[in-house]
Amino acid sequence: MSKTVEIHIKRRPAPDAPQHWEEFEIPYRPNLNVISCLMEIRKNPITRHGKQTTPPSWDMNCLEQVCGICTMVINGRVRQSCSALVDNLDQPIKLEPMSKFPNVRDLVVDRSQMFDHLKRVHAWVELDGTYDLGPGPRMDNDDVLERYAYSRCMTCGCCLEACPQYDEDHYIGPQAIAQVRLFNMHPSGAMNRDERIEAIMDKDGITNCGNAQNCVKVCPMNIPLTKAIYEENRETVLYGLLGWLKK
């Protein structure tokens, strides 16, 4: 008998419909990842019990784990499906959509709240204008490397899925706090430091972190999220104590 891959997918036809599992089986090939399995299934969507069904929907784009779009829960762990190699996974492979975001259909979720958080914390450098004003500030390469680590965040949502505190918008979560760190570390970005600190001092802000440290364990880019939370916590405490002096 030829080798096969067994895949179970948690389906949801529409946002208000209930979820259900469907089981598929496809021929094994070397170097398969979860995305190539899904592509195989959508070509001819028949369950392993022979029932014709609809093809599953999922998000995908770069397939190099740099765009963040294909994130899902695979065998209980949140990660990108492009870099989930079949040879390294236990079977049956169980695919579920992330649970902390509105489920659009099947494995597709709506993560627009993460981009809204970036708006709230002013995750940008306030430029005077985009015309030519010469180079930016000089920087020590060690500081650049620290910023680079934060700047690799692809807004995939793994940290929020794994965070026990993040739910229904009670807590802004690690990704936004790490972006505060990224811009507060930049010489020009630091000029608007107070706005960002105030944005994470609300009641759904940084103090809701329960220090479970799940975020840093699931981050596919190895971003030091707990360090960012620690540093920003310090900044907010100092700002809380001394910030009124500035007003």
Partner: protein, 598 residues
């Protein structure tokens, strides 16, 4: 009083965001359309860096030298004035990103660091680790988000442009887009439209491109009358990692930082690479091109790797060669190339710090695209284009690290040109004319027809067949008989397309209908690429025909122009503007000759 100017930008990669930022900064409104959230656009995949001649290494570099490398690397097919303008703007573009907070690598003095890339002798490439595209895209994403908060930019993420709304005089008055969840079709009036939708790599099935790179929006413009130029010039990147679902890029920066390409001298040498002594290794690029070595331009490196494998010298007799970094200290590699080494480790399983990587060429970039003038305007009034989807700048072959700079340059030029057009056009002149309703209806009919249609053809299977025939015959080496056979195959696929059935009865957030629409558009562009290649009987840059091995300036120093007709593409040719540097023969085995100004 005239209403506010509104410009639609299609595509949220580097070029689209650059244009959106400039338009918003000038105080005008932007509707920004993107198939995926803009932060997830294909620009994130660019790795190695961005070129700009700032001459901080005391090498006598200049923007003129950058310009000369660019047109020489492009085998003199690029119009020279825009290529020159890009090279002149490049340092300011890099400095702007620096001010936005891009974590570019630094020197000991805290200045921007630059590394070497292909086709140049200078350190001219600024870089942020080995994920420069991601970092530049994020910087623009942040600035555009600022304008979104300020109410200047309205994003339509998850909306795909299906067609242009053209008035009776063929003037672009906006577009029709489809919501990718509900499949709702809606017209969006605009005073001008900028297409910045990226490349068409998916026509080749597997490529280094992201899954959104179908060229579909461009193909729609082409079918509505936009000229498509130099379609046959497709860059095949020398170093990619073959995969089941895609070919993952292994950046040229690996060679820029000292990576060496080799194969065992003995055919079928089964020894592990570390136990093959130096003298039994064939460093074929270094031997054949002593002046540039591993940093010859991509078209040349790709052909050499291809040939070595054809000669049976590929590692383990397969289509693969070594890209070796193991002689470089691991710490240097981690700092300068970390991101790409992680990709290799993640998908192949070997550690490239310890074991040479195994790589092979893969379809990467389209030099061709929508025809634009020197202000990024297409031949359709009110329609502009920028980035990989336009044909300007790169000629017959793009130099590494010139794509990021050309995307931003294109966006920065298109934005003011679009505003200028919008200021002089009779705004809202198409309101009440019925063109929006008509175009929406036409698109709805196409969708309805596809949904109703039944037959035994499978759309994904057709896509695979197209990808295979295009990869086999319209990439590195091209023969006229095979190009003819490829076109026949494409016509067959177009016929079978009419018998596909959408295999998803649930149309909410379905992938099937959008893919079917892409496939139709990709087939149209595939013919443009294939027939453009068939007609060009010479070898130039990425276009290589063994039957016509030399560049033929007398007959082919000209831009291919394809225009749509119901019977297939109609070809004509435009002169190339070579007013600044006189075309000369490319030879990378020797130092580049002194630039001869025309």
């Amino acid at each position: 009083m005239a209403s506010q100017i509104k410009i639609a930008v299609v595509g949220g990669g580097l070029a689209g965001l650059a244009a959106a930022m400039k338009i918003a900064e000038a105080g005008h409104a932007v509707d920004l359309f993107s198939v995926v959230p803009v932060k997830r656009s294909h620009s994130v995949c660019a790795q190695g860096g961005i070129n700009g001649a700032v001459n901080t290494k005391g090498e006598g570099d200049s923007t003129w030298e950058h310009f000369d490398d660019t047109v020489y690397g492009g085998d003199f097919l690029a119009n020279q004035p825009p290529a020159r303008a890009m090279c002149e703007m490049a340092p300011a573009i890099i400095y702007l990103f620096d001010r936005m907070g891009v974590p570019f690598s630094r020197t000991k003095e805290g200045l921007l660091d630059f590394r070497r890339f292909g086709g140049t002798k200078h350190h001219r490439t600024a870089f942020a680790g080995a994920s420069t595209g991601q970092q530049l895209l994020y910087a623009l994403d942040e600035q555009v988000r600022r304008f979104e908060v300020a109410g200047k930019v309205q994003k339509y993420e998850g909306w795909e442009m299906m067609s242009l709304a053209l008035d009776d005089h063929q003037v672009c008055r906006g577009l029709v887009a489809m919501n990718l969840r509900s499949l709702e079709l809606k017209a969006f009036p605009a005073d001008a439209v900028i297409i910045a939708s990226g490349g068409p790599g998916l026509i080749f099935g597997k490529s280094t491109n992201s899954m959104v790179c179908t060229g579909s929006a461009v193909a729609a413009c082409y079918q509505q009358g936009a000229k498509y130029a130099n379609g046959e010039f497709i860059q095949v990147h020398p170093t990619s990692i073959p995969g089941d679902d895609k070919l993952r890029l292994m950046s040229e920066s690996a060679r820029g930082e000292g990576g060496r390409v080799w194969v065992p001298r003995a055919k079928g040498d089964k020894r592990p690479p570390s136990s093959i002594p130096e003298k039994e290794r064939l460093y074929f690029l270094e031997e054949k091109y002593p002046a540039y070595g591993n940093l010859v331009p991509r078209d040349i490196a790709t052909r050499e790797i291809f040939q070595v494998c054809l000669d049976g010298l590929g590692v383990s007799g397969e289509n693969q060669v070594y890209l070796d970094l193991t002689h470089i200290p691991a710490e240097t590699l981690d700092q300068k190339l970390g991101a790409i080494l992680e990709i290799y480790e993640m998908f192949v399983g070997d550690d490239p710090r310890q074991v040479p990587m195994r790589i092979f060429p893969g379809v990467h970039y389209s030099m061709g695209g929508l025809w634009v003038d020197f202000d990024q305007r297409t031949n359709i009034p009110g329609l502009l284009a920028a980035g990989e989807c336009d044909y300007s700048i790169h000629g017959a072959n793009r130099l590494g690290a010139n794509s990021l700079v050309s995307c931003v340059y294109g966006g920065f030029v298109a934005a003011p040109a679009a505003i200028e057009w919008a200021k002089n056009v009779n705004r809202n002149g198409a309101n009440g004319s019925g063109i929006y309703e008509q175009e929406t209806k036409r698109q709805q009919e196409i969708n309805d027809g596809l949904i109703k249609q039944s037959g035994n053809e499978n759309q994904y299977k057709l896509h695979e067949e197209m990808g295979k025939v295009m990869t086999d015959n319209v990439t590195v080496v091209r023969y006229n008989d095979r190009l003819q056979a490829t076109d026949a195959k494409l016509l067959e696929l177009m016929d079978r397309y009419r018998r596909i059935s959408i295999n998803d009865s649930n149309l909410w957030a379905t992938m099937a209908l959008p893919h079917a629409r892409h496939l139709d558009n990709m087939l149209e562009l595939a013919r443009v690429i294939t027939l453009g290649a068939l007609n060009r009987n010479e070898s130039r840059g990425a276009h290589y025909k063994p039957e016509f091995p030399n560049r033929d300036d007398e007959n082919f120093l000209k831009t291919t122009i394809a225009e749509y007709s119901g019977e297939g593409p109609v070809f004509s040719y435009d002169a190339v503007d070579v007013s600044l540097i006189k075309p000369r023969r490319r030879d990378y085995s020797h130092e580049k000759k002194e630039t001869a100004k025309a």
